[in-house]
């Protein structure tokens, strides 16, 4: 009743794609042109036409995805077919090219296609693996709820800090101000914590504070030096609040990382698709011009 894109309808499109590959391969081996195999033979034209048609249809997924009123099958079915036929395309086009490559527009077109297919492959692998982690990491919360929780945690920390010494208040504020959840693409995708903190008695510069490590270290030094019961309680509370903050930040960074990976590959897949379409037109035009 309920399956992933790969299992859709008992892998109907996998079977179709395999059949397509088999037919192309048999025809290719059986066909014995005088000259070495290339695009210029009747089989070459057939495979080329097929490949171009497939590319156009694969691109059409972007249109179908946004035609919300479409009654032409479910999007899941489209994606399932897209994945398997997209992979079959690699074989169809390689056979079409007869494995002849050089420094020309034709090979550029091929390379772009390979890039699109490879990125698609990466995408589908990520789609299989990451959602589960994403869900577990969120633990019943939405991303927005986690952010709100962070704000509330900070409010509570500020209230507790009001009982601490002025430089500790400054440190807590600096810690909040120096928190980074996003950052560069690389930072997001690797879930690096680039947070910093500028401690009042430390260097003039901000110090690295990954996983709240620096502020925890600083606070615990003060805690161990404290000889006043009230102060000790305040500092203990602060340390445990920062501990909670650390866990929440970690989850937020993981959330951003997972969501980043789930979409970053599309930033290669789609633009290169348009590059591919351009070079495909150039390839077809040049073939007919220089024939």
């Amino acid at each position: 009743m309920h399956q992933s894109v790969l299992d859709f309808e008992r892998r109907r499109y996998l079977k179709i794609a395999l059949a397509l590959c088999a037919v192309s391969l048999v025809a290719y081996l059986w066909h014995d042109p005088r000259s070495p195999p290339n695009g210029g033979t009747w089989l070459g034209y057939t495979l080329g036409g097929l490949g171009a048609a497939l590319i156009l249809w694969l691109t059409a997924l972007g249109v179908r995805k946004r035609t919300y009123t479409s009654t032409l099958g479910s999007l899941q079915g489209w994606v399932s077919a897209h994945v398997y036929l997209g992979l079959a395309l690699l074989l169809v086009v390689s056979l079409h090219a007869g494995f002849q490559f050089g420094w020309n527009i034709h090979t550029l077109c091929y390379v772009l296609m390979v890039v699109v297919i490879a990125s698609g492959l990466l995408g589908i692998v990520l789609y299989q693996r990451l959602p589960q982690q994403l869900s577990q990491n969120r633990a019943q919360q939405t991303s927005d709820q986690m952010l709100t929780e962070l704000q509330e945690l900070d409010e509570r920390t500020r209230r507790v800090a009001a009982n601490a010494s002025p430089d500790e208040v400054l440190a807590i504020e600096a810690n909040i101000a120096g928190t980074r959840i996003g950052g560069s693409t690389v930072a997001i995708l690797s879930a690096q914590d680039r947070s910093t903190v500028r401690l009042p008695d430390g260097l003039a510069e901000a110090e690295a504070n990954p996983g709240q490590a620096r502020i925890l270290e600083w606070l615990s030094a003060r805690l161990s030096a404290s000889d006043d019961a009230g102060r000790t309680r305040t500092l203990t509370d602060l340390v445990s609040l920062i501990g909670a903050r650390r866990a929440l930040l970690r989850r937020l960074q993981q959330d951003a990382r997972l969501r980043g990976w789930l979409s970053v590959w599309l930033y290669v897949h789609v633009p290169v698709t348009f590059g591919l379409l351009g070079s495909l037109i150039a390839h077809v035009v040049s073939v007919f011009l220089y024939w």
């Binding site: 919300y68 009123t69 969501r259």
Partner: protein, 798 residues
């Protein structure tokens, strides 16, 4: 002595007074609050007031057309001045005695007035329940809160523990120091969303809470810091809280007691019952008229028309009711050339069910109903349709087809009989198909109007209930036993009502009854090592408790109502009698029992499955007909489902994918469950919420945006929205990935806000757009029958 005294200056009362002023009749209009139309004054600022029903003409010296609240109130205000209406504000009426010709009205101030006639138009909002402690009349005590942003930097105590109190407290806490006073030790009976908000706010100390506390007194102090002192009785002893303001949200006293104290009779004890009125809106007390929402007419225009009609009637002018042309049009296709009144009388004479209904209520019922004259053989409804209207046969006959395919049988109903009560009461699909016979004339009444009638007229309720039981037993156990044989058995059956989580019976108890679930659903659980583990769920239309009746004496499992549930129960003797008439029954029941034992044993072996069922039950699936689930092991969070919903529904998404709870990879997003008996339908003034044949619960265009449904839906899936800006073009979004975020509810816009919710894409040919637009197949819609299967085969065990 006034000729007419009008109590309550709402739309109904104002219109009556305006008519009296226009005719030069000595009158007085008494209003408890500081200004006219208190109910409308209390609408949200800038609310677009709608003038439903559109087809009904307005009859009043005062103007009224759809528009912004402020504008309408102003027009009414100038209208009252212009006509010279004798309006007295701050004059709450506390007692009415006497009858036609000599009424004495007592005001709260102790003053009394005399009048020949009284028009009662106090609406149904009721009076806010007062604190009832010394000092509750000080200016710092208020019972409403218009705009929380009006207050800053004050200390405010909110008294009450309901949704209104919580919402006020949270809103005020943004700019003030707030305490909330709860009489109990927890916040029971509030929406889940509000519960988590308040608990969180208390934990974060954004506001303070006094549990198990009650107010003792309010006193003024000399201090400018905190001009008042509220004394509370708390478990730790009496505590004085210095404050600026006290907001009491402890509910409203429904007007019924007051109305009854004036001698007005209600036909039934049901809280929803309406007073009995003559065709001229006169109550059983002669000279005392009831109009507007209090009389059961929940819209402004209706109230205004009635005010006009009653005053004209008192002055001896014959007025045709404003709805006369509407009824005439409805009856146009009927043969016989009878007048509207004659047709209504003939209907009541021919249909025994309606014989005892008072003519005014009957008129209102027919106004909401449709009259059909189908051709012989036409389908009235199909088996398995989800519609819930109620039909009576006025002329001719209908054929009811029970069963399906080969072993279907037809029975005939003739003029005066009714059908369709099964789906009406249970919220389940139609259990039979119905075809029109020769010369057939049918009256189709919407669910809401019949429910209203059942609440007010006991005889209607008991006749419908009795027939329901007979038909339920017939379809459930004895399809071939004639009606006459079943009637005495059915008379011994009992109708039971259970609250959510209440047990029908418990494991180990002696078993002596079998329950047919009439509405709602029940969860079957068993005790394992001190824990109740849910094994399965039984939907309305099925029975439970059969095992104990077939030989075994004690209950093998506990059965609890998963949602508010009604059952029809049969004792062992009645059941034995049924089996005697129907020898095959024993075998059938044993079959069902065998299957249940097997599936219970399976559920037991997978603990996760049982827990998943109870999780889904808590999310309201026990009363759902169709619900959107998301398999979190597949969902990539692209929100294409929300995009698709918005794109197919005027730009507003009706589902919130990310929100909602998750258990074992199954996520229940905030989206309509299409409940069997939708809570949202209760109290919708224009009856805008309907159920389509395929089960979709949808909101029609005549929604007036009152927000009742938003409050009544326990799952928070309805919101008020106006039409949002256009979406980016296809190419823009494909090339640049620019998706306009689906609009939740837009700000202060001038466009009227209406209620929006999922309609399961009933107008889309391909079915639900959210599911079709999910690239990974994570989104799926399931019905209760499917979800148990889903639990055992689906995501949980992958």
């Amino acid at each position: 002595m006034f000729r007419i005294a009008i109590v309550g200056a709402g739309p109904g009362g104002m219109s009556a007074a305006a008519r009296a002023a226009e005719l030069g009749v000595p009158h007085v209009l008494l209003e408890q609050s500081a200004a006219h139309a208190n109910t409308i004054q209390r609408y949200q600022k800038g609310k677009h007031v709608m003038a439903e029903p559109n087809v009904l003409p307005l009859r009043s010296p005062l103007p009224f057309a759809a528009g912004v609240r402020e504008h309408i109130l102003e027009e009414w205000g100038t209208g009252l001045d212009r006509l010279g209406v004798n309006l007295r504000c701050q004059s709450e009426v506390t007692r009415i005695e006497g009858e036609r010709g000599d009424f004495i009205l007592t005001l709260k101030s102790g003053e009394s007035l005399r009048a020949e006639h009284v028009i009662f138009s106090i609406g149904v909002q009721g009076n806010p329940r007062r604190l009832g402690v010394p000092g509750d009349d000080l200016p710092c005590v208020q019972y409403t809160l218009d705009d929380p942003d009006d207050y800053q930097g004050e200390t405010i105590v909110v008294v009450g523990a309901g949704d209104a109190a919580i919402e006020n407290a949270i809103a005020l806490a943004r700019q003030n120091r707030v305490f909330i006073v709860n009489r109990a030790e927890e916040f029971a009976r509030v929406k889940d969303g509000n519960l988590s908000l308040i608990l969180k706010a208390i934990e974060d100390e954004t506001l303070g809470c006094f549990y198990k506390s009650s107010c003792l007194s309010v006193t003024a102090t000399a201090s400018a810091e905190a001009p008042y002192l509220l004394t509370l009785a708390t478990p730790e002893g009496d505590t004085a809280v210095p404050c600026h303001r006290i907001i009491a949200r402890i509910g409203a006293v429904p007007p019924r007691k007051f109305v009854e104290s004036c001698g007005i009779h209600f036909p039934s004890a049901d809280a929803a019952a309406l007073p009995e009125l003559s065709a001229q809106y006169e109550s059983n007390v002669s000279g005392l008229y009831v109009i507007g929402a209090l009389g059961g007419y929940p819209l402004i225009k209706q109230a205004m028309n009635q005010g006009y009609e009653v005053v004209s009637h008192i002055q001896g002018e014959a007025v045709e009711p404003a709805d006369e042309p509407l009824l005439a049009e409805k009856f146009a296709k009927l043969a016989g050339g009878l007048s509207v009144t004659e047709t209504l009388q003939r209907m009541q004479q021919r249909i025994p069910l309606f014989a005892d209904v008072n003519p005014l209520m009957f008129r209102e019922l027919i106004l909401g109903s449709a009259v059909h004259c189908p051709h012989e053989g036409d389908v009235v409804f199909r088996r398995n349709d989800y519609t819930n209207s109620f039909y009576t046969v006025l002329d001719g006959s209908v054929q009811i087809e029970l069963g399906e395919g080969g072993d279907s049988r037809r029975i005939t109903l003739v003029a005066g009989q009714f059908f369709g009560e099964g789906s009406l009461l249970s919220g389940r699909r139609r259990s039979a198909a119905v075809y029109a016979g020769a010369g057939c004339v049918l009256i189709e009444s919407p669910r809401r109007d019949i429910v209203k009638l059942m609440n007010s007229v006991d005889s209607v309720r008991s006749v419908i209930d009795r027939l329901f039981i007979v038909r339920a037993i017939q379809t459930g156990f004895a399809p071939n036993t004639p009606f006459e044989v079943l009637a005495p058995i059915a008379a011994r059956a009992r109708l039971n009502r259970y609250k959510r989580d209440e047990a029908l019976f418990k494991e180990g108890e002696p078993g002596d009854r079998l329950h047919l679930v009439r509405s709602g659903s029940v969860a079957v659980s068993r005790n394992f090592g001190g824990r109740e583990v849910t094994l399965s769920y039984v939907a309305a239309g099925n029975y439970v408790g059969e095992m104990a009746l077939l030989g075994r004496t004690s209950r093998s499992a506990t059965v609890r109502a998963a949602v508010p549930t009604e059952t029809v129960s049969l004792d062992a003797d009645a059941f034995a009698e049924l089996m005697a008439h129907n020898p095959a029954l024993r075998g059938d029941i044993e079959n069902v029992m065998r299957k249940r034992i097997v599936s219970n044993a399976q559920a037991q072996s997978s603990d996760a499955g049982g827990n998943l069922i109870s999780f889904l039950m808590r999310q309201g699936l026990g009363e759902a007909t169709d619900v959107l689930l998301i398999d979190e092991s597949l969902c990539i969070g692209c929100d294409n489902c929300e995009q698709a919903c918005a794109a197919t529904h005027g730009g507003t998404s009706r589902l919130d994918r990310a929100a909602g709870p998750t258990f074992a990879n199954v996520h229940v997003p905030t989206s309509c469950r299409h409940c069997e008996n939708p809570h949202c339908m209760k109290d919708c003034p224009p009856d805008a919420i309907r159920r389509a044949p395929n089960g979709e619960v949808y909101i029609r265009d005549n929604c007036i945006g009152c927000g009742n449904c938003e409050r009544n839906c326990p799952y928070g899936v309805i919101h008020m929205a106006s039409t949002p800006p256009p979406q980016p073009s296809l190419w823009a979004s494909l090339l640049f990935g620019s998706e306009a975020p689906p609009v939740e509810s837009t700000g202060q816009g001038k466009a009227p806000k209406k209620a929006v919710k999922c309609d399961m894409c009933k107008d889309q040919s391909g079915g639900p757009a959210c599911v079709r637009a999910c690239p990974t197949g994570a989104a799926l819609r399931v019905s209760p029958a499917e979800f148990v299967e889903f639990v055992s085969t689906g995501v949980a065990e992958r």
